[in-house]
């Protein structure tokens, strides 16, 4: 995971201003109610559901293993996040982001 100084707390969802559902990836219309005003809001916690270690990437030079997880937020969004290292399924993580990429850090 990148240096924590580079990360900002929370992961951005696009929140429908009518039905209040938050979406990732960001949407233009709310898939649930069709409303066209969605604003960015942060979610901060999630639970790890699956993890993987990416040990090989075709064509990549000097590849080092990366740890990724599929996590479910407290609002039920499922996100793909980068991790510092291996964690067990069920681990609670705090969410961060750099740009739009999301990262999880075990609490």
């Amino acid at each position: 995971m990148a240096d924590e100084q580079e990360l900002t707390p929370g992961a951005t969802v696009s929140r429908c201003q009518k039905c209040r559902v938050g979406w990732v990836p960001l949407r233009l219309l709310c898939p649930r109610c069709g409303y066209d005003v969605l604003l960015p809001e942060k979610v901060h916690e999630a639970v790890v559901e699956q993890t993987t270690c990416v040990r090989h990437s075709a064509g990549a030079e000097n590849w080092t293993p990366r740890h990724l997880a599929s996590v479910r937020t407290t609002e039920n969004q499922v996100l793909i996040v980068g991790l510092d290292g291996p964690v067990k399924d069920g681990t609670r993580v705090k969410l961060y982001e750099r740009g739009m990429a999301m990262f999880g850090k075990a609490q």
């Binding site: 990836p25 990416v54 990724l68």
Partner: protein, 385 residues
């Protein structure tokens, strides 16, 4: 006019490109070969469907120009693994509507092996570029590694179960002249393979390669004598079927299967074979389940009793997993093999008396799994004498 597939050609998949070859020569070669197979000349062609990830900056009309084709109808697909069925559907409707009389549907790519591959991954879509590439996700392998874990948990599957699927396809590849990997694979070799993204190993991931294929569609009575035209009884497609709110264990096929079979007038039990988009073993099983070819949802039993025994032939060319993933041509691999089988031209791999078959496309991985899915039901027509 009853439209049908009346000819095809496929270039052997390879990871060793011959000197002077590029994506354009690949597309040219299969178009020329497919027209010869159909007994037609380039001047007969008035419609062209194209899908290729790496053909840029040229577009379909540029390709037509370089081939000297004067067209009344052209389409270019950008739907990942669902592009072949999508384009086939467009072509059938165009023939039916009289927009064209002879359409070539061509797919192909010359894949980069090395750092040159990276820009393609980064620019595949906005979501993947912004959310996944900065994580070093290494392409879809990591996403389907986690999806595979979900399927293992939901259906009680083991690594050995997936191994049986992969080994069965490798056995089909042994009889397929165009497959990249044709040597037999044992369970010991499968289980000992180098890991790619846990729990996937290299045999669970389709090897990138170069390849191309083309289909010729026209009125069935233009099929060469001694050959059977191949009819498409139904095509259905589905895009963004669940708004990415699910777990990816069901594909869009689950929302169109009933309508597909109803429109086809035959059911999953009537199929003699299935050629499914097999970017990963888990997705073969998900699609079979969605299509109700696995009638009771018992994935483990179907692998053991039907796939491993060849009682129900699946991916008879070896699929992407053994045949190789040749970009756009990978999307058309199953359809080309279906035509080969239903025209009874599959040699050692011929499924006896094959009359009906189903092919699928799956892909356009937006974030966690594929958002595009399509299926077509094919039937062998009456041979022209």
């Amino acid at each position: 006019m009853q439209p049908a597939i009346i000819g095809f050609a496929e270039k052997k998949n390879t990871r060793q490109l011959e000197p002077g070859a590029d994506v354009y020569t690949y597309l040219r070669d299969v178009i020329a070969a497919a027209l010869r197979d159909a007994g037609l000349m380039p001047a007969d062609v008035d419609g062209l469907g194209v899908f290729s990830f790496y053909m840029g900056p040229d577009k379909a009309v540029d390709l037509a120009f370089r081939l000297g084709l004067k067209l009344n109808w052209v389409v270019e697909a950008t739907h990942g693994g669902a592009s072949a069925i999508n384009t086939l559907g467009h072509a059938l409707r165009a023939l039916d509507a009289g927009a064209a009389k002879v359409i070539v549907v061509v797919a192909g790519d010359v894949r980069g092996f090395g750092p040159s591959r990276a820009p393609g991954m980064a620019s595949y879509s906005r979501s993947r570029r912004d959310y996944l590439v900065p994580l070093g996700y290494g392409g879809p392998n990591s996403l389907f590694a986690m999806l595979t874990q979900r399927q293992m948990q939901a259906h009680g599957l083991t690594r050995e179960d997936y191994g049986r699927v992969v080994i069965a396809q490798r056995a089909w590849a042994a009889g397929s002249a165009n497959a990249t990997y044709r040597s037999p694979l044992t369970m010991e070799e499968y289980l000992a393979a180098e890991p790619v993204a846990d729990p996937l190993t290299r045999f669970d991931c389709p090897p990138a390669c170069s390849g191309a294929s083309a289909l010729v569609l026209a009125a069935a009575d233009r099929c060469p004598r001694g050959r059977a035209p191949i009819h498409i009884r139904a095509i259905r497609e589905c895009y963004n079927y669940d708004n990415h709110e699910g777990d990816g264990l069901r594909t869009g096929l689950s929302t169109i299967a009933a309508d597909l079979w109803n429109a086809a007038g035959v059911g999953p039990g009537d199929m003699h074979l299935a050629n499914l988009y097999d970017d990963y073993p888990a997705m073969i099983l998900a699609q079979l389940n969605d299509l109700k070819i696995i009638p009771d949802g018992d994935l483990k039993g179907f692998i053991r009793d039907k796939i491993a025994t060849r009682e129900f032939p699946v991916n008879t060319s070896g699929g992407l997993l053994s045949g190789g993933q040749a970009g756009g041509a990978g999307a058309q691999l199953g359809t080309v093999e279906m035509v080969r089988q239903l025209q009874h031209r599959a040699g050692d791999n011929q499924v006896t008396s094959a009359r009906f078959g189903v092919s699928t496309g799956y892909g356009q991985v937006i974030y966690r799994y594929g958002a595009a899915a399509a299926a077509a039901v094919f039937e062998r027509g009456v041979m022209r004498i």
